[in-house]
Symmetry: C2
Subunit: 199 residues, 2 copies
DNA sequence: TTGATTTTAGAATGAACGTTCTATTTGTTG
DNA sequence: CAACAAATAGAACGTTCATTCTAAAATCAA
């Protein structure tokens, strides 16, 4: 990578990092380019050498955040088949405990709200969602070897997003009982004969 | 109710209805007062005779939409105890099938995004969430008479919000299999001995 | 009907915002 | 080092937006 290319990717990271912070704090449409630029330590005008518009920055953020989530699922492919079910369960619990994921949740809601009126954003989100779903279905069906892998995947994904949603609506909720609930539900989803054959 | 009072409440409804439509289509912060006023068939300035600011309109919308959701749960109090479990299940499925709830989802996401930076909105949402949760816990614990009512309530609420979330992320999803999944999960939640005693 | 009060319209205001433009600095290359 | 290209700053522009202000229309009371 040449010096120019290095600088370019560094600047783009600066912009995306700054934008992500601003978006979490103020939302996509109240975060101004001036604020983003100040945080990225460059002039507003300079941002336009790397991004065509503010919309392009939003799209890039959505893509990056979705890709992050997808990557974490992809890591599970390397886990041993016998341990996979318990590793997935622990990962799920871990994501509840980590405070950092609340920031992620903030962006998630912003993204979901946005994808209902911005087709480009909707497309990005759907692409990553499909990737995660395919990945999980493969893990559950082929590696763990359970039947009805798609139904189990959907249950799991409902569980994940539902939990994030509830933590936003009720931030004072008792985390430990939520974790117990999540552990049990995950085990139930990843156990044979739990799901009826009428699905 | 005097003529003046009638007119007043009519105008307020006009404004809230118009605002709700605008907010669904463009989001809280891109929907301009001019658009809302045009849709409510009055001048922008006139809106300020009924609402102190745009923020106040947002708060009123959040309150109204949350109250609508809470009301639908309150209706279940009148249902016969023996039928309650199946009525709740059918209600859940119905809410998946109704296309109108997608509009509701749009507003929900907007509201959840907003409540992360607007404490007043957060307060409104938390109040209604607590009301719904208490209501459900009462129904499950006292009317149906199941143990571990709080845990079952939380599972149910996770399920609900999770499903709405997933339908946004993957609008082409097969509804009938989702409904089958929901029916089974609801039955599982509302059946004794489903939940382990370590919760 | 007349006077008073409320309701309504619509233009005016001032701030904020996304974007563009011009100029300056920095870095690279022959 | 000189000359050119890329990077960067920051002011300027045009627009949009929430809000305010002024005045007209409508309603009501007596």
């Amino acid at each position: 990578m040449t010096g120019a290319e290095k600088r370019r990717t560094a600047r783009i990271s600066q912009i995306l990092d700054a934008a992500a912070l601003c978006f979490v704090e103020m939302g996509f449409h109240r975060a101004g380019m001036a604020k983003i630029a100040a945080r990225a330590k460059m002039s507003p005008g300079h941002i336009y050498h790397y991004f065509e518009s503010k919309e392009a920055i939003i799209a890039a953020i959505v893509d990056r955040e979705s890709a992050k989530a997808a990557e974490r699922f992809a890591e599970l492919d390397a886990v041993d088949s016998n341990e996979l079910a318990s590793v997935m369960t622990e990962r799920a619990i871990q994501s509840i405990e980590e405070k950092t994921d609340i920031l992620q949740s903030a962006l998630n809601m912003e993204m979901l709200a946005e994808c209902q009126r911005n087709p480009e954003i909707a497309c990005i989100i759907q692409r990553h969602d499909k990737y995660i779903r395919d990945q999980l279905t493969h893990l559950i069906g082929n590696k763990i070897g359970l039947d009805l892998a798609e139904a189990r995947t959907d249950m799991m994904m409902v569980q994940f997003s539902g939990l994030a949603n509830r933590l936003l609506r009720n931030p004072d909720m008792d985390l430990s009982s939520m974790i117990a609930l999540m552990r049990q539900t995950m085990q139930s989803i990843l156990t044979p004969d739990t799901i009826g054959d009428h699905v």
